[in-house]
C-alpha cells in the first residue's frame, strides 16, 4: 500500500534546510511549551496554526509535529524536576521522576525520559506509517461500551497506585470521579454542581486541575519545608548526569516496546484522550516487575514506562485522524483543523493525491523524535540545574506560571480559581496522605466512564439487562472487563502473598 518512492521523497522534502529549521524550531518551542505547567500541546499547536497559513502545507505540518512531539517530551522535564506535569500526559511521570530528583538523580531521570520518549515516538510513528489503515479500523470498533470498560480499567489502576492505604486511594479516586461530574451532563445537558456559574458549564478543565493539584500543592509543600533549596545539600552535589552509552538506549527495550504499543493503542481510541496512557503503562510495569516495592521510590523503570507510553500516543492519535477524520485527542483535532484549512480532507486521498504533503509530514514526525532527543540529551544536565535555584525564586516563578498557565488554557478566569481551589485542597489532602494521582485519574476518567455507560444504556433502548449484557457480549468490552478485574485482584493477591511470606 505504501510506495517506497513516496516515503523516500517525503523524507527528502522533510530534510530540506527550510523544513529542518522549522522542525528544530518547532521542537524547541514544543519542549518549552511542554515544560511550562499549564501550557499544553493543544495550546501550543493552536497558537501557532495561524503561522502555518502562509506556508506550504507540508512545512506547516512539519512545524506542528515538532511542537506536538516536543511538548509531549517537554512535559517530563517539569514532571521529574518539580513534581509538576508540564502537560497532562506527563502526570504519571511524577510518580518516579520526582523521587529520583529528590535523590539527586534528576539528570538521570531526564535522560531516561528522553530515551523512553524517543522509543515511544518512533514506535508510534512506525505504526502511523505502516499500519494506519488497519489500526484505524480497530479504533472504530471502540463504541460506548468499550469506552466505559476502558475507563473502568483505568480506574482500577488506582488500586495499584495506592500502596499506602487502599481506602485513601479509593476515596481519592471517587473524589476525582465526583469532580468530573461538574458541568453539563452528556445525555441531557443538565447543569450539575455548577452553582449557576456558566463558566463551569464545560466542567472542571483538566489542565487547571492538574496545575493546582501538582504545581500549587508542591509549591505550598515546599514552602513549608525548612531547606532553602528544593533538595538537600548532599543531593545537589551528586546532581550528575550519568555518561550515556549505547547500552542505555536498549537496556529497557522490553518496557519500551510494551508501553509504546500500549500508548499507541490508547492514542487510537478516540474517547480516551492520551493522558491515561502514562498511568496504564506505569500500572503494567509495576505489576509485572520483579521488584514492585521499588516503585514510588525513584525507580527508573517507571519513568521509562510512562514516557514511552505518552509519546507513543502522539503517533497513535494521528492514525484515526489522518485515515478517518476522527481525532484521537485535542491536539489531533487542532492538527486536523490545520489540514482542513489547507483543503486537505482526512481520508484515503491524503496518501494518494496529497502524498506530497502527507509523507513529508509523516517523515517530519519521525525526525521530530530525533530532534527532541538531541535537544533533551544535550540539555539534560542544564535543565537539571533548575532545582539548584534558590527556593524563593523558584517557587515564585512556579507560582506565576501556575496562574498564567491555568488562564492561558481557555482564557477563562474561572480556570485560575479552579487551580487555586485544587491547590489548596490538594495541599491538605497531601498532608493527610491522599494521593494526587488517584484524584487526577478519577477526574480524567469519570466523564469517559459516565458517557460510556449512559450512551450504552441509550443505545440498548434503556433496558438495564440488555445494557449489562452488551458489556459482556462485545469482545473488546469483555476483554477490558476481564483485564480490569485482574488489575484489581493481582496487586491484592501479591500483597497477600507478601504478608504470608513475611
Amino acid at each position: 500500500m505504501i510506495s517506497t518512492s513516496a516515503v523516500l521523497s517525503g523524507f527528502m522534502t522533510a530534510l530540506s534546510p527550510y523544513n529542518l529549521l522549522l522542525l528544530f524550531g518547532g521542537t524547541v518551542l514544543g519542549i518549552i511549551f511542554g515544560a511550562l505547567p499549564g501550557v499544553s500541546s493543544t495550546m501550543g499547536c493552536a497558537v501557532l496554526i495561524p503561522l502555518t497559513y502562509g506556508m506550504d502545507p507540508a512545512s506547516g505540518l512539519i512545524l506542528l509535529s515538532g511542537i506536538y512531539c516536543g511538548s509531549t517530551y517537554g512535559g517530563s522535564i517539569s514532571a521529574c524536576l518539580l513534581n509538576t506535569p508540564g502537560t497532562p500526559a506527563s502526570a504519571a511521570t511524577t510518580l518516579e521522576g520526582f523521587p529520583m530528583t529528590r535523590q539527586g538523580r534528576g539528570g538521570e531521570a531526564l535522560q531516561e525520559a528522553c530515551i523512553a520518549s524517543l522509543w515511544g515516538g518512533i514506535i508510534g510513528a512506525l505504526a502511523l506509517f505502516f499500519l494506519a489503515p488497519t489500526i484505524a479500523q480497530l479504533s472504530l470498533k471502540f463504541g460506548s461500551q468499550e469506552n466505559a470498560m476502558l475507563a473502568v480499567f483505568g480506574l482500577t489502576i488506582i488500586v495499584s497506585l495506592s500502596d499506602g492505604s487502599l481506602l485513601k486511594g479509593f476515596v481519592s479516586g471517587i473524589l476525582g470521579v465526583l469532580l468530573s461530574m461538574v458541568g453539563l451532563d452528556v445525555a441531557t445537558a443538565y447543569p450539575r454542581y455548577t452553582f449557576k456559574l456558566t463558566a463551569l458549564y464545560g466542567g472542571i478543565a483538566i489542565i487547571p486541575a492538574i496545575v493546582g493539584l501538582y504545581s500549587l500543592t508542591q509549591l505550598l509543600t515546599s514552602s513549608g519545608e525548612k531547606e532553602s533549596v528544593l533538595l538537600d545539600e548532599k543531593s545537589i552535589d551528586e546532581l550528575k548526569v550519568p555518561k550515556l552509552g549505547i547500552g542505555d538506549f536498549f537496556r529497557r527495550w522490553v518496557i519500551y516496546l510494551k508501553c509504546s504499543v500500549l500508548g499507541t493503542f490508547i492514542g487510537i481510541v478516540p474517547g480516551a484522550g492520551g493522558n491515561i496512557a502514562g498511568y496504564m503503562a506505569y500500572n503494567h510495569v509495576k505489576n509485572s516487575s520483579k521488584t514492585p516495592e521499588q516503585f514510588g521510590k525513584g525507580c527508573r523503570d517507571g519513568v521509562a514506562a510512562t514516557e514511552s507510553a505518552n509519546n507513543a500516543v502522539c503517533g497513535g492519535s494521528l492514525i484515526p485522524m489522518l485515515t478517518l477524520g476522527i481525532p484521537g485527542n485535542s491536539v489531533a483535532a487542532v492538527l486536523m483543523g490545520g489540514l482542513m484549512i489547507q483543503g486537505l480532507n482526512p481520508g484515503h486521498s491524503l496518501f494518494t493525491n496529497y502524498a506530497h504533503v502527507t509523507y513529508p509530514f509523516l517523515a517530519g514526525f519521525v525526525l521530530a523524535q530525533i530532534a527532541f532527543t538531541v535537544v533533551g540529551l544535550l540539555g539534560a544536565k542544564h535543565f537539571a540545574k533548575v532545582v539548584k535555584a534558590p527556593k524563593g525564586f523558584l517557587l515564585a516563578g512556579i507560582g506565576v506560571l501556575c496562574v498564567v498557565g491555568s488562564y492561558a488554557a481557555s482564557n477563562n478566569i474561572a480556570d485560575v480559581y479552579v487551580m487555586l481551589t485544587f491547590g489548596i485542597i490538594g495541599y491538605f489532602l497531601k498532608c493527610a496522605g491522599f494521593d494526587m494521582s488517584a484524584i487526577v485519574l478519577g477526574l480524567m476518567l469519570g466523564s469517559l466512564a459516565e458517557a460510556g455507560f449512559v450512551q450504552s444504556y441509550n443505545l440498548c433502548k434503556r433496558d438495564v439487562a440488555a445494557t449489562l449484557m452488551s458489556f459482556i457480549t462485545r469482545p473488546i468490552s469483555l476483554t477490558l472487563l476481564v483485564i480490569s478485574v485482574l488489575s484489581v485482584i493481582s496487586p491484592l493477591l501479591r500483597a497477600r502473598k507478601k504478608n504470608k511470606q513475611a
Binding site: P50, A333, S410
Partner: protein, 315 residues
Amino acid sequence: MKKLFAALALFAALSTAACAAYPTKPVRLIVPFAAGGAADMTARLSSKVAEKYLGQPIVIENRAGGGGVTGTQAGASAAADGYTLTLFVPGGILNTYLKKVNYTVDSFAPVVQIVQEFDVIAAHKDRFADLAALKAYAAANPGAVKIGVSGALIYDHLEALIVAKAMGVELKPVPFNGSAPAIAAFLGKHVDLCSVSFAELDQQARAGDVAFLCVLAEERFPDHPDVPTAKELGYNVVMGPWRGIVAPKGTPEEVLDTIADAYVKAFNDPEFKANFEKAGLPTDSWLPRAEYTRVIKEQAEALKEVVKEATADKK
C-alpha cells in the same frame, strides 16, 4: 473591575478621539468552541483576511465549554467597545431557551454573517441506500434507528428531532461529547445515522461506504448533484448552522460599521474565497449587517418554534 477599566479606557480613547479612531489595538474574537472545529476554522480563515482591512490583528480566543455557553456568555459580558467580538451560531440562541444562561439574544449587536452551511443526513450505504428506505425501516421499527448527535440540546440534536417529525417516524438521538465522537460512532456502526456537513464525510462517501440521504437545504449542492434535498422529497426541513460575528449590545454604531465594513471587504477578497473554497466552506453565503440583524431576529423566533416542536413529545 474590568468594566470600570474599560469605561476609563473608553473615556480616554474618546477624549483623544481626534488622534485615535477605532481600532487602536488588536481585537479579540471569542470562539466558543474548541480549536480545529468548523466554527473555529470559519472564524480564523475569515478574520485572517478581515484584519488586513481593519488595520489591527484579530486574535482568536477559543473558549469552549457547555455547548458554547461559556464563550458566548463571556462575549455578552465583555465591554461594548468593539475590542471583543463573539462568533455566534444557532447554538448561541438555542442555549437561551434550553439552558440556564445569563445572556439573551438581545445582549448582542449583530455585525456580519460569515457563512451558512446546510447539514446532510448520512447513513451507511448497505443499511439505508436512500431516504425512502430509512423511512420504511424506521416506520416499521419505531425507536430502532439511532442517530448520533454532537451533544444534548445542541443544534443537530434538535435537527434530528425535526427531521424525524417531518418524516413521521421515530429516530433516537444519541448524544455524544462533540461531533468527532458522534462521527466516530457512526463510522463504527454504533449508530445508524448522523448529521454532518459534506466536507466531514466526503472521503467516505467517495469510497462508497457512506450514502448521503438528503441535504437540508433549499436547493441541491452543485458539488453533490445527486444528493436530493429534503424539500423535494416532501419534507420541508431547511436547517444548517450559520456562523456570524456579534458584538456586545451598546457598542457604538461607528465601531460596528467599521468592523462590518472590514469583513465585507474581506468577503469580496479573492484570498478569502480561495481559502474558504479549499476548506470546503461556501463563499457566497455571507450577509451584511442589516441582513444579519434581520436573520438573527428571524432565527430567534424560528428556533423558539423548533424547540417547542422538538421537545413537544419528549418525556
